[in-house]
Every structure is written in C-alpha cells, then in structure tokens.
Amino acid sequence: MIIAHTIKDIMRMIKDRKALLIILLMPAVLTILLGASVGKLMNGSSKISSIPIAIVDQTSPASLDDPSIQSFITQGESPINSPQEDIEFVSLFLNEVLENKEVKNLIDYQVLSIDEAMQLLDANKITAVITFPESFNQDVLQAMVMSSPKQVQVQMKQNPNEGLQNEIVKGLVQSYTNQLSKNVITKNTIVQLMNDNAPIRKELGESMEEAMNQSFSSDRKEFYTERKSLQGLTSINGIQYYTAGMAVMFMLYLASYAGLYVKDEMRMHTFQRIRASKSSIWDVLVGRFLSALCLSFSQLVILFSVSKLLFSISWGNVWALLLIMLVSSIGVASLAICISVFTLHTPKVDITNIFQSVLIPFLAMLGGSFISTATLPEIIQEIGNNIINGASLQAFVGVMQGVPIQQLSGSIIAVLLNGVVFLIISAFLVFRKKEVF
C-alpha cells in the first residue's frame, strides 16, 4: 500500500511538466547564469585578495636557565643542552607560517604595537590582531619541558564583519597552536615512559633531546605538514558553488510540491476517497516521504550530473557526495511531510504558496544559495549554516573542496536534525486534529 502511494506520487510529478521545469530546468539555468556572472568573483577562491592582519609581539625570549626548568631538568640523568640561539616561537610563526609562499598570497601581515594594531582594527583596515603575550615563549618552552606546564595563550581580536577572512586567520593560528600542543603531548608521553621503564630511559632521553632540538631548529617539518592541509582544500569555482546552491534551493521547491499535490487531492476529493479506503494516514505520509526522498535524490543527481557534463565540475569524493545527497533528500522528504500535514491541518492557509513565494527565497538567501554566508553577520551565518538548505550546501561545498566526510558530520547532523524537527511537528499536527487524518 505504501509503495502504491509512492509510485502514485512519483507518477504525478513525472506527468507534471510544469513541476519538472521548475525543479530541474530552472536550477540548471540559474546555475549557469549565476555561475557565469556572480561566480566569476569566486573563481579561485584561493585568490581572495590578501587578508591584512597585525601581529603584536610582546614576548621576551625563552630561556632554559629559568630556575623552575633547571630544577626539573637536573632531576634527569641526561640533562638537555641549552640551544645556542634564543628560543623564539613567535619567530617560527612569522618565518615559517606567514612567510610561507602560499600563505603569503593569502595573508598580508605587519608587526605592530598593540595600540597601532587596535587603531587599524577599529578603523576596519585590518581583519585581525594576533597578540603573543610577554610570557608566550617561556610558557611554550615550559610546556615542552616540564610535566605540569602553564597554559599557553595566543590572543586574537577580529573584525566581526569579515567572516570568511576571520575563518582563514583563525585556521592559521589554530594550526600553529595545535602543532605546539602535539609537541607537548609527545613530550609528556615520553616522560611518562621514561619514568615507568628504566632500561629504555637513556635511549628515550637521547631521542627526546633530538626531538626537542629539532623542534627548536628552523627546519619545522610539522608546520610544513599543517600548512599543506590548509592549502590542500581544493578551491571551487562559481559553477560548482551554484550547482550546490541551486540544488539545495530547488530541493525546497520539490518539498513544496508535496503540499501542492495534497491540496490538489483535497480539492479533487481523492484524499477523502483514500481515507475511506483501507489505507491509513500513515500509509499516505510514509508513501509521500519515500516519493519525496526518491524525487529529491534524483533531482540532486541530475543537477550535479548536468553540471559535470556541461562544465566538467569536480565532485570531490563521489561516495561522500552521494551520502550528502541521500541525507539532504531525507531532510527534504521530512519537510515535504511537514508541508503536506500542515496543508491538511489548515487548508485555509495557502502554506504552499507562502512557502514557495516567501520562505524559499528567504531560506535560500540565509542558507547561502545566492551569496556565501561568510559575508553575513556571525549570528546569521550560524542560523544559515544550520537550516536544512544551508547545512546541505555546506556539506556539498565541503565535499567538492575535498574536506573529509568526518569533518562534515556537523552539517550532516544539522540536516538530519532539521528532518527530525519537521517529523515531530508533523506528528504533533496529526495527533492534534485526528478528524482530518
């Protein structure tokens, strides 16, 4: 019985040429138009004009001669030799991270005093101020050497209006501090092993010395790896972005058609006829869920395939893309149920029309279908990235950028949560007005 409903709903959509034009042809055309016009601005998002930032270096050089470190070192059998040069972790950040060729294309930094930096930030002339406090170098060194280190902090002040740029700067600083943390963890593990296992203590002690010296040397292999991960994200072009943008927008139109067809069935009294048969409301709704799921999945596959055929866009990981399509389709199918139930529950309110003409454009804007949400205020970004179409878009773009699927779990969960909310609302409405159902 459920399958009969599913097939009937799919057949109705297939026979509805106007609907097919709207859910398939329009997004394809808009992808081409927007991709070719607005998308030019996005072409090679790796070529975003340099992001101006200020570095405030308030640090003093670190020294192994610090009494607390010395007392810790002298407990060991093989004291670590103090390096010849000053230990300056900030220099490492400047020379090895910001001076890197690829990062340099992206970040334009200047070392300033705190007052100068804040003036520029207030005047919106720079995107962020990264401040290394006075004790930074010593704290990092202490963290690396001692078993109970101090907490190390890097302060970052950002211009709230520049979301995308902020994210890039934040990512840079995070990758740097993450690398430092890794070194500390490695050291702690080694120290623990040394304490627990005397026979290998000497050997490990030598290895640790080597590792520490390597950390202080200018040949920072770990930083190199981290930088690579940052630039490893494939930049996507306008056609790619708008393929996803239009797909997630027009999947909402597909959901709205569920409401349109319900309204049609009420007008034609086929719904009453179905209700008077052996079919329950749950058969009807599950059938509609499955049909919307199939149609939405097909719609997404067709739109991405058309873009691939016409513009040879890169899909990223195909399996990840298919997974996102499936998850998005589940969300859309839940929305279709919600719209259907609301239409049945309150037939006098033209919910489909309101959804199509007001809500979809609004959600599309909020979710980033027209312009990236990175340009919107943070709170709006947060909402946009968590509504069904916005979260789907984030996931699609992420897959095309080569982001591992694990890192997209936030967006996937957001889409599914949207679906759960839609289904809960639907169930509530069904139980609230049993006579209609």
Binding site: M1, A4, R12, H269, I274, E435
Partner: protein, 311 residues
C-alpha cells in the same frame, strides 16, 4: 441490523449540520436520502463513511461502532463522492489500479476485477486514455467504477448523476439498479425525486439537518393522500393573489414560483370557482390549471413548505 444510526449530530462551530438522525438499513436494501442542497445528506454520509466524526451519537455497523472502529466499515465500503474524485492526469486503468491497491484487492484478481468494472460502466474501449479527455458522464461512471473495484458490501453514492447527460445518467441508474438486484446494500443521495423513486426501497427526506420523513415511497405519499395538488399558471404575479388563495378554506399550502402556483387542497374540494373569482377581482389572468395526485415532490412541499429546487 446491517447499519444503524443513533441520534447522530454534527456541529460545525455554531452551525448544526445534522441533528437527531436515526436510521437503520438492512442488508441488500437501497435507502434514498432525499433533500435539497445543504439539507445534511452529504454530512450524514461523510460520517457513515468515517470521513467525519459525529459531534454526538453513533453509527453501528453489524453492532460495532464505526466511530470507535472505523476500519470495520472501511473494509466493506465503496464510497462515491459527489465530486469526480480521480486523478485527471492518469488513465482510467491507472486510476483503477491505484484504488484497487487502496482497497487491497489481491494482485492475482486485480486485472480481472478491473476489467469487470470497466465493462460494468461501459469504459473498456477508453480504459487507456487519460481521464482529462473524458466527458462528464464518462468521468462519473469511472468515479463509480473506482468504488466498485473491491466488490463492496455497502455502496454509498453521493449525488452521482449531477451535471451529466441523460444517456450517462440512465446508464448509472440502470447500473445501480442491477447492483441492488445483485444484493448490494446502497445508500443513494440525490435531490432528483425521480431517481430516488426509481431506485430506492425506502426514502429518508432531510431538511435543515433533520430527517423529516422516512418510509417507502407509498408510505410517504400517504402522508399527503388526503389532498390533491392544483397547479395554476397566472399573470401578472401578485402577492395578494397568493395571500387570498391561502385564506380559502380547504387550502393547506400555496407555493409560488415565477408565475406558477402549487396549491394543496383537501381531496374532493372544489375550489376552482373561488380561485377564478379572486383572479378576476385582482385582474389576474389564469393561463393554465391542472389538478394531480401527489408525488414525493409534493410530500416535500407539504412537509417543508418549499420545493426541492427552491430549498
């Protein structure tokens, strides 16, 4: 008892659409619900079909409450709504297949059963055409076919002949008559007197949500058997003419529409001279006079003071 309706009430906000309806239907019986638009016929059958919940009262199908266990009656019910409840973009076959699945007609019987009902409604030749290409009468017949595809025990038809050509109407009436002969229990609503007279074993006349008379055609006409109906056509139309006739002894009612007057008079009373005198005094010219024995229409008029089509 096959179907029993007890003290049925249905309110929509403050409006009482159905009140105090009590009915019982035996297996194989054809019951007609007769009444003007808005009388409560469709609301009553919607409640029997489990599409609406009664505000009060109960409907028992084979002693089981339909309100509490709607599936009980849905299993044996064929419901033909007043509207063409079909998918216009589908062919007749596709519509029949879909509704056959809704009624859980077993796969092995489905095709045969669909062919049977197509033959019954005379649409075998057009079965593969989209129904948006059908005439009104063909759509009506298919509308009925979809309710028959699972061989229901109880068939409810809500004004199934509205707005169709005489040929299709006749086809439908003959088909319903045949189904009745085959033993199907039928509830047939209409505001066409002659259809109800032709098809139904018993008739319930409804007005303003209530059953105002119930019985066989003969029993109902007996209500007014003590009177004749005089029909006069006269010009010009004058309110005073109607009022003066109403005041005559032996006149039970007068109903005026355009230039036509239906006058209920006690059987055997000779009122013609008095009516002609009134006409002469008021300078009204009588064009036509006819005295007839009462029919259902007159029963309705007698009971409600209005004709079915006026109401």
């Amino acid at each position: 008892m096959f179907l029993e309706i007890r003290d049925l009430h249905k309110k929509f906000h403050k409006h009482c659409a159905v009140q105090n309806v009590n009915l019982s239907i035996d297996k194989g019986e054809v019951l007609g619900l007769l009444g003007p638009n808005g009388a409560g016929k469709s609301t009553t059958i919607s409640m029997i079909s489990t599409l609406l919940l009664p505000t009060d009262g109960d409907i028992l199908f084979k002693e089981t409450s339909v309100v509490e266990k709607p599936q009980q009656i849905r299993d044996i019910l064929g419901y033909v709504p007043q509207e063409i409840a079909l998918y216009p973009e589908f062919t007749a076959l596709e519509n029949l297949h879909f509704f056959a699945k809704m009624y859980k007609v077993p796969r092995k019987n489905r095709v045969d059963r669909i062919q049977e009902v197509l033959q019954l409604v005379g649409l075998t030749d057009r079965a593969t055409e989209k129904i948006e290409t059908y005439s009104g009468g063909m759509k009506r017949r298919l509308n009925i076919a979809c309710a028959l595809v699972h061989k229901p025990e109880l068939l409810i038809l809500d004004e199934p002949t509205v707005g169709i050509d005489p040929q299709s109407r006749n086809h439908i009436l003959q088909m319903v008559k045949q189904l009745s002969k085959d033993g199907m229990t039928i509830i047939y609503t209409s505001h066409y007197m002659e259809e109800v007279e032709f098809l139904c074993d018993r008739i319930a006349i409804m007005d303003n949500g209530e059953i105002i008379a119930l019985g066989t055609k003969e029993a109902l006409t007996n209500v007014v058997e003590q009177q004749d109906v005089m029909t006069i056509r006269a010009i010009p139309v004058k309110t005073t003419f109607k009022e003066q006739i109403e005041q005559l002894e032996d006149v039970t009612y007068v109903n005026c529409k355009d230039n036509s007057y239906d006058i209920g008079i006690k059987q055997g009373a000779d009122l013609l001279p008095e009516v002609f005198t009134i006409a002469q005094n008021l300078e009204v010219r009588i064009l036509h006079v006819e005295v007839k024995t009462p029919r259902l229409e007159d029963v309705f008029l007698y009971l409600t003071g209005k004709t079915l089509r006026d109401a």
